[in-house]
Structure formats: C-alpha cells, structure tokens
Symmetry: C2
Subunit: 258 residues, 2 copies
C-alpha cells in the first residue's frame, strides 16, 4: 500500500507525510545477480536484428508489458468519492500541499519533490533529477495535456515510482547506486518489461553511462517513458493486432510531447 509508512529519515514531517511510503515496502533483500556480461556491441536499424547469438527473449515473443490501469479522467480535485479509502484521502490532502493553488504539479515542483526525497536516500547515488528530466516526465504522465499533473496523474506516477525504487534497491543489494549488466536486465524484467536484445541495448546506450551503469534518476526516467510508450501503443492498437497506424500529426504529438 502506497501510504504504508512515512520513513523518510530526517525529512521534515510535512513532506514525510505527504510522500509517505516512498521508502516503505520492499527494498533490500535478495538481488538478481546472475551471470552474463555487459553487452554493448553492434547496433541495428529498425527492422534489423543484431547479429550474433541472442540470449534474450526471441523476436517472436519480444516485447511485453502490462501497465497499471491508467489514471482515470480527472474529476475536479475537490470531488471526493464516498468510497475513497482513508489512505487515499490523506494522500489527496498531502497532494494539495505539494501542488499549490492550481492543484497541479509542474516540472519544477516535481523536481523539488523528487530531489528532496533523494537527498534522504544515501543509497540511491544519483546527481538528482534535472529540470529537463522532470519536464519529460510531466509530459509523459500528462494525459489531459494541461502541462501539469493533476491528482490522478500524479498518483499514477507516484505508485509507479514507489514500485520501481523497490526494484532498483532489490537489484542493487551492494548499494552501489547504479545497475549494470544482468542487474539492469533483471530489474527491467522485475519491473514488468519484457524486451528484446536490440531494444535493451538501445536503452542501455541512451540511459546508462559509458560503463553501462544506470543510476536511479535515469532508471526512473527510462521506465516512465517505457511505461508511457507501451500504454500509448496499446491505446492506439484498437484491434490488438500488434500494429498501429498513425498520421504525421498523431506521430508528432506522441513523440514531441514526451
């Protein structure tokens, strides 16, 4: 449950309550350290398969992910459902503190929230979330294209980031602050993403450093995008045949607002 407990060490009480549960649940425990070295070789154009032995999922069952149910249509913030649980109600109140008068969280707000949380997690070694990254996250999560995140959009993102920080910590039992090689592959899989070799390599190239190590903010940035792009595809693939047809206008809206 995402409001399990506020264990934000040393954080001021208000923020700790507001973001309760980010440190709760999971974390630590067994890792997924298997064999397999870091693959960086080759590359491939769209439609091509990287030559060589493919140890990962074959092309036929290549890419899968089952996202959380999408954020529902945004009701006005003050519309409180009678059946809403106490935890959700409390989260809603705390969201109000974070979001300010317009009841929406923009990129700068998000950056401040995330970096405040991160400063309390010495084991999540990272340079922190940049404004550019947060702008991208907001765009990807911004279903109703207001330019900021309303309660439901923020809640969806928050649930995911809690889940993914648990996965990150699970696959980094040594608290190095980054994932590489089979740790990274295991973490992506544990987060629910089944990817083929080519896509995995592209992700490493884009989000990991030159040694193939991915730190926490890049991990989150990557997963937010993966989640959003899987959901976008699923929404467009109305006949579920694994193919979508898009116009230039739709293509640009999807790719530019991200």
């Amino acid at each position: 449950m995402f409001l399990a407990k506020a264990i934000l060490e040393g954080a001021d009480r208000g923020l700790g309550e507001a973001l309760g549960g980010l440190l709760g649940g999971g974390g630590g425990g067994g890792g997924g350290r298997g064999g397999g070295g870091q693959r960086r070789g080759g590359g491939g154009h769209i439609g091509g398969i990287i030559g060589g032995i493919v140890n990962f999922i074959s092309e036929a069952a290549a890419v899968q992910y089952t996202p959380e149910p999408p954020p529902p249509q945004q009701l006005h913030f003050t519309a409180v459902e009678a059946s809403e649980s106490e935890e959700v109600r409390r989260f809603r109140q705390q969201f109000a503190q974070l979001a300010g008068p317009d009841m929406e969280v923009g990129a700068t707000d998000l950056m401040n929230i995330l970096n405040k949380i991160l400063s309390k997690h010495k084991d999540l070694k990272t340079e922190g979330f940049s404004l550019e990254t947060c702008r991208s996250i907001v765009s990807l999560m911004d279903s109703d294209t207001t330019g900021k995140l309303g309660f439901e959009e923020f809640k969806y993102f928050w649930n995911n980031i809690k889940k993914w920080q648990c996965v990150f910590k699970q696959y980094d039992p040594g608290h190095t602050g980054s994932l590489k090689g089979s740790q990274l592959h295991g973490a992506l899989k544990a987060a629910g993403f089944q990817l083929n070799e080519q896509l995995y390599l592209m992700i490493v190239r884009r989000y990991a450093d030159e040694d193939g190590a991915m730190d926490f903010n890049n991990f989150i940035s990557c997963l937010v995008r993966l989640d959003a792009m899987f959901r976008a595809f699923k929404a467009l693939d109305r006949d579920a045949d694994g193919l979508i047809k898009v116009s230039i206008r739709e293509w640009l809206q999807l790719t530019m607002y991200s």
Copy 2:
C-alpha cells in the same frame, strides 16, 4: 557555407577553427514580430482539434517540413573523397580534434562543445545544455545507433544548429535570449516547420517556460527532435500516403532511443 568564418569571440583558436562559422552568416537583421498573443489554453487528445478559432494552418495542410538530406552512410573516418572541398576537409580535421581517439562525439563531448560556444554568446541567454539534453540529441542524430556521433552525423547536426541559431537571433532582435508568442511561431516557421495549432501548443507546453518563453537550448533541443521525428516518419512512409504502420518493437525503438 558552414565554414564561412571563425568568429568565436575569445575562444581558443583551435576550438574556434573547429567550430568555424557558428557565428557566421545571418544573425541580427529584421525580426518577425507580429501581433498575436501567447496561446496556452486548452489541450487536446490525439485526434481532437482544440476548440475555438484556429488562426494557424488548418488541419488539412497541417504539418510539413522538408529536412536537409540525411547524413550519408558512415564511411570510415579516414576515407576522404577526392572531390571533397577544402572546407569540408578542414572541418573533418577539426572534428578529429573534438572527437578524440574513437572518432565519435558522445553526449559529454557534445555538452562541452556546445556550452563552450554558448559561453561566448552573451546574447543567447540560457542555462546551457544539460547532459540529459545532449544524450537526447545524440540519440536522435545517431542514425547507425553506435551511441555516439560520427563525422557525417555530427556534420548534419552542426549544419542544422548553425541555421537554427541564425533563426533564433533573427526572431529575437532585442536579445532577450528567449522567444515567445509570435516570435516563437515565426521562428519555427522560418526554420521550415509548418505545424498546426495543437502541435504548436504542445511544443510550447513541453519546451517553453511557464511564461511561454523558450530559451536557446530548449529551442535547439526541440528542433533537433522535430527534425528527427519528421525524418523518421518520412522514412517509414514508403508509399507517401501520410500514414505509417509500426509494430510495438519499432515503436519502442523509435520512441525510446530519443
């Protein structure tokens, strides 16, 4: 001509030669200040048209752009064509200085190059290019998916950035360091991008600040992506019917490696 002259004020000679022409050509001169206020209202889902009077290009002729010819297949760096002009040969040599032993420019190299240039341009008010932005630029320009930019890829990017910095300066005659409203719309058009209202608003939401003002590094970041996404669509639209069909794998490769 992109090696018009090295006018990098105060830059060390090597870098000035290496990046010759960035300040040359265009700049200054008449602006495109027309009427029209900043539009931020509304939003729209894919397939929807923002309600209200549409003063921009109608949906029917909505989105167009004719990119520069794409970078050719990368020959080995040392392959020098007999017909290559002196300027290109000189740029190639200077690229070698910038790129280092692997003859490829990575995100960190790119960030250093761009910010060194920017530090000499007091009229391009910007916080500078972040590593995150440069990683995105490299991915978007990286046709052969090596993770870095070879000579031809870099040359393509460099030609564009020279053109676009001229446009930026042309539409910011007051040297405010940012573009907004009709300045921004005019600059996008002058750069060759014909966009519809909805797409324009999304771009402002994603790349401009809360006042709708877009600074230089966000302008470049936006145009690099626009250029790349137009080119990707064109490459996939083999029958030129304005529609493309993509699988989940292709979709993710295109959207994640950007």
